[in-house]
Symmetry: C2
């Protein structure tokens, strides 16, 4: 029987008890409005761990001013049904007030270029909000393993660095992007697209795949590859490009020319108010 | 048999094993060069926990430019003998290179006035260094309880706030200041005083006690009480006052007038290059 915890102390006490019994805990941190991408993480956790906890928390401090905190889709009832069907053990759904009580001022931050580029450039403070909430979730739920989707590639890379540097006793498991039939990466935000935007959004994955083919065919110039993607995406009238970047996959470091490295092509594009991200890793 | 760990992973694995056996771990974080104050923490941990770990690490990131990181006294051999005698289970003495490898950039920070006043004002970045290293030590050693001396009153208050806000599953135990016969609070730094400075340093505790008597006698004006301490300390030719402050004991908040609260009188004074701190809590 799946149990829902809204109180931090109750969840933490339960996790302590599970740990004391030697159970291996898997945590899937989410902002809810679950889709097949989230569920693939839950299934992976179910395979690998004794206890599977899903956190559902739309984390206010990772949204900037003017971002879509209010419009972020929520449907806890549906989420609970989906998770029950996946045989999750527990859902942790705390309130903002409990997570960030009056006077709250403690933050975990990965400093440096890794959080300043890509999404960090357009969303200042975003990753500080992410690393703070993930630290809290890790400390409350004490997972042995935590599952994150490769769709938020920079997020996972930042969290891996945080875990390594702060010595969190947690294994980070990176899971592949799940896509719609037309290639659009699953995202809770997709529901906010109108039908025209939804159709045009398929270009993101198409552009990434086209770029991968270009590289496979011998193209080694980063700017040329980025230009190709830019051209394809700009052709969609509803698309406004935030960024298109190519970085070293391992640490998001600079890539001068494409040779002998695993690289990540990552992009963020707005359709109306809805900002979508996608990425593709290529071994050159 | 006490065991010394210098490798982070070895220490963390050992702590995981202890936790899996249901042992309660007590951690005493120190910068070494142990004195009776540290040993009082170790004894308290020995009484309350199954496993007692002492960390010895002169944390470079909590020292500012021009501060005494280099001159900070070190004597690991003597420390280990003292801890062996106290029947400690483990000493964790990592290297700086392992704690902060090349490219390290993850920090835990308690923001706001609590880390900006008192020692935070004269030592910018100090508490960020403290909360970061303490977070790492907690994550490596997974203590149920961690022991800190009241001599570093602001440090304990900041750490308590961090633990509460990040949801660390750790109980912070605050232990009383241990003093020399003439009232000087024990500190590893005392060894850096010359004999004249050492003699004059007794004024710190004398000034705090005189202030407490003044309050007991009915004085309610904060500035008058601070002036009294300032006068006593300035009379010592080697003393240079950094700060003398009176705050609410609980959270170091502002105190307008002395009435019906627990207050903390705290001071920092330099004798030559050696900066000493002391404090006294008074129930008004």
């Amino acid at each position: 029987m799946m149990k829902t915890f809204t109180n931090i102390k109750d969840m933490q006490d339960k996790c302590k008890a599970w740990k004391a019994e030697g159970r291996r805990i898997g945590l899937v941190p989410t902002m809810g409005y679950l889709h097949a991408g989230h569920l693939s993480l839950v299934r992976k956790a179910r395979q690998e761990c004794d206890i599977v906890i899903i956190s559902i928390f739309v984390n206010p401090i990772q949204f900037g001013q003017g971002e879509d905190f209010e419009e972020y889709p929520r449907d806890i009832k549906r989420d609970l049904e989906l998770l029950e069907a996946e045989q999750a053990d527990a859902v942790f759904a705390p309130s903002s007030r409990d997570m960030y009580p009056e006077g709250y001022s403690t933050f975990v931050e990965v400093e440096g270029s890794i959080t300043k580029k890509l999404c960090g450039a357009s969303r200042p403070g975003h990753f500080k909000g992410v690393t703070t909430v993930v630290s809290k979730l890790f400390l409350i739920c004490q997972p042995d393993k935590a599952y994150f989707g490769q769709k938020d590639a920079q997020q996972v890379t930042v969290i891996e660095k945080m875990v390594r540097e702060l010595n969190f006793p947690v294994n980070i498991v990176r899971c592949p992007i799940i896509r719609e039939a037309d290639g659009l990466a699953l995202s809770s935000r997709n529901v906010n697209l109108n039908s025209e935007q939804r159709q045009q959004a398929a270009v993101l994955n198409q552009a990434l795949k086209a770029a991968a083919r270009e590289i496979e065919a011998g193209q080694r110039d980063v700017e040329t590859v980025k230009q190709g993607m830019r051209k394809l995406i700009s052709a969609q009238p509803q698309a406004t490009i935030d960024y298109i970047e190519i970085n070293r996959a391992e640490d998001l470091g600079e890539v001068k020319n494409l040779s002998g490295e695993k690289i990540i092509m990552a992009l963020a594009v707005k359709f109306g108010n809805t900002r979508l991200i996608d990425n593709l890793i290529v071994e050159v």
